[in-house]
């Protein structure tokens, strides 16, 4: 599915290998070659085995531990789905998912909207296109720790924007989201949008530029005005890319951890706790490996709820395309 996504969004982003460059020397056959061959094959089998074992093994291992009473050390006695039912009833887990819903929705909507807007505007033959693109995308090269730290300063009421505006003379100015239980989750949205909007722009720009120029020409010949061209051509053609970007951003939101830790540390109180921070808290703060693993498995299930339907949708629409030629 990754391949499908990549090929759809970044059509030809990575150029195909050049052909016919390798010149083949006359094959040598002496005893050394076969030894090297055998070792190379062994290495390849091992590499593949490690890659598969890592994914399957670690997933099953964590799942297994989630059904046990492991605390600081693993303890492999089966206790059923106890941790799952308990976790679903704890307030912190419910708050974490409520926060994820607000954050995920806000982040998806704003990052997509800003990304699409910037992509369309940058595609108007503007000057300094490269410079602008570089500026929009550079946050993606930064660590979330850096982003979170810097935004925590800017949003700090004493030392940040609020302090600055008050220093200018507007002493009644207030911008204290970071320390406000109801608003703190929106600071996470803000910082995440700052980090990822340029990325959404890059995906949309690649999509816009891969559209077939003939579509526009045909519409122009038909006498369609620019507004109608947006509606009739751009919107349907961009629709699959918008969905792809939404899915990518949503799974990015579900996995968000470092940003919250650096920006708000889950606070004030538990106002910006996310499922990822709860997992960490259970595993390493409270030393509840079994319960923490159950939380991690639920996190994975949340991801699958997004990704599996999307993969099926992709496969169906690919099949439809083939059928209709």
């Amino acid at each position: 599915m990754v391949a499908i996504l990549a090929s759809q969004i970044g059509h030809g982003l990575v150029p195909a290998p050049e052909q016919g460059r390798a010149r083949w020397p006359r094959a040598r056959r002496f005893w050394g070659v076969t030894a090297v061959e055998q070792i190379a094959k062994l290495v390849a089998v091992l590499a593949l085995a490690v890659a598969v074992l890592y994914v399957v093994g670690f997933t099953l291992w964590t799942t297994w531990i989630s059904f046990t009473d492991s605390t600081l050390l693993p303890n492999y006695t089966f206790v059923g789905i106890k941790h799952y039912t308990r976790l679903l009833q704890t307030r912190i887990w419910q708050v974490a998912y409520a926060n994820l819903a607000i954050y995920g929705f806000g982040f998806m909507v704003f990052a997509t909207a800003i990304g699409l807007l910037l992509a369309i505007l940058i595609d108007q033959k503007v000057r300094a296109e490269n410079l602008l693109r570089t500026i929009y995308l550079y946050p993606m090269a930064l660590s979330f720790v850096v982003t979170g730290t810097v935004w925590s300063w800017l949003l700090n009421p004493g030392i940040g924007i609020q302090g600055f505006v008050r220093g200018l003379g507007w002493t009644g100015f207030s911008f204290g989201w970071l320390v406000d239980r109801d608003m703190a989750i929106y600071t996470v949205v803000l910082a995440a949008v700052w980090q990822a909007s340029g990325f959404a722009m890059a995906l949309f720009l690649a999509g816009l530029r891969s559209l077939d120029a003939d579509l526009y020409k045909a519409a122009q010949i038909d006498g369609a005005g620019p507004a109608r061209m947006y509606l009739r051509i751009l919107v349907p053609a961009m629709w699959p890319i918008v969905i792809a970007v939404l899915v990518i951003l949503l799974q990015f939101a579900i996995k968000t951890y470092e940003l919250v830790r650096a920006l708000t540390a889950g606070g004030p109180g538990i106002a910006t706790t996310l499922p990822t921070t709860v997992v960490y808290d259970y595993m390493f703060q409270r030393g509840l490996m079994g319960a923490g693993s159950a939380a991690a498995v639920m996190l994975l299930l949340s991801l699958l709820v997004i990704i599996v339907p999307y993969a099926i949708y992709r496969r169906l629409s690919a099949r439809r395309r083939i059928r209709h030629g």
């Binding site: 599915m1 970044g10 982003l13 990575v14 290998p17 052909q19 016919g20 390798a22 083949w24 006359r26 094959a27 070659v33 190379a40 094959k41 390849a44 590499a47 593949l48 890659a51 598969v52 890592y54 399957v56 670690f58 291992w61 964590t62 693993p74 369309i120 108007q124 033959k125 602008l132 929009y136 995308l137 090269a141 930064l142 660590s143 720790v145 850096v146 982003t147 810097v150 935004w151 300063w153 940040g160 924007i161 909007s197 340029g198 995906l203 530029r209 620019p226 990518i248 990015f252 579900i254 996995k255 470092e258 650096a262 540390a265 997992v279 960490y280 490996m289 923490g292 693993s293 996190l299």
Partner: protein, 288 residues
Amino acid sequence: MAETPALSRMGLYGFVYPVLIGFAAFFLLPMVVVVLNSLRSFEEITQSSVLGFPRSFQWRNWSEAWSGYCMAGNCTGIRPYMWNSLVMAIPATIVSTLIGAVNGYVLSLWRFRGAATLFAIITFGVFLPAQMKLVPWAITLRELDLSNTVRGLILIHIIGGISFTTLFCRNYYVNVPQDLIRAARVDGAGFFQIFRRIIVPLSPPILIVTVIWQFTNIWNEFLFGITFSEGANRPVTAALMALNANIAQAREYGIESAAVLLAAMPTLLIYIFGGKYFLRGLTAGAVK
């Protein structure tokens, strides 16, 4: 290449540059703030705010951040942590890329039965949240006696990177014509010879993308770093967070700003000089 219909014909052109420049300011603001603060004195920042132009340039902040500032009792600046990150990221990047190239080669050009399934499984690793790997790694590192070592983190990043590197390389090699391989086999070339003489010479474009992707991710990674290392063994992201959480003493925003910039420097430089490859990796690995 298609042009997006011109907004100018809709009478909206006047709005293009203000919006583009406004967003550029939004994206640049935090960086500008950090750069300016890295040159401001402690008193200046704490008496006003982090938004301001330096009254006099405090270059001392940078040398303090690099090798003098105290974090958790160690007055070493961030230099040793930068070194840890470098010693961790370079070997992990190289080894995971090599393994990815071999895996990609096997999965794309030696299409044995089950290759597609194996590839799907490995790709699934790209989606797997880090939280699913924490407990197995904690146990594995303990068993291998690698807890709280940089070597342990290298191991984590090598194995953890294979899903991405395999994905990148496989999707690239799958475009190598099968005829090329077939012809080489007729000439008597084996598994390793084909890899060395055909695949490796074709690989630089994808290897650059993979190396940049891996290095950036490993350098910026935080969760494994903070979980599986302590004190002097921390990578720079984890050390920065410790600095951040150091609420007992008054915050030295100037020095911290310089430290943040130093920690962000390697990946920023890669982005500025290898932006094209960075973007390719980002788009190909979009599902992270």
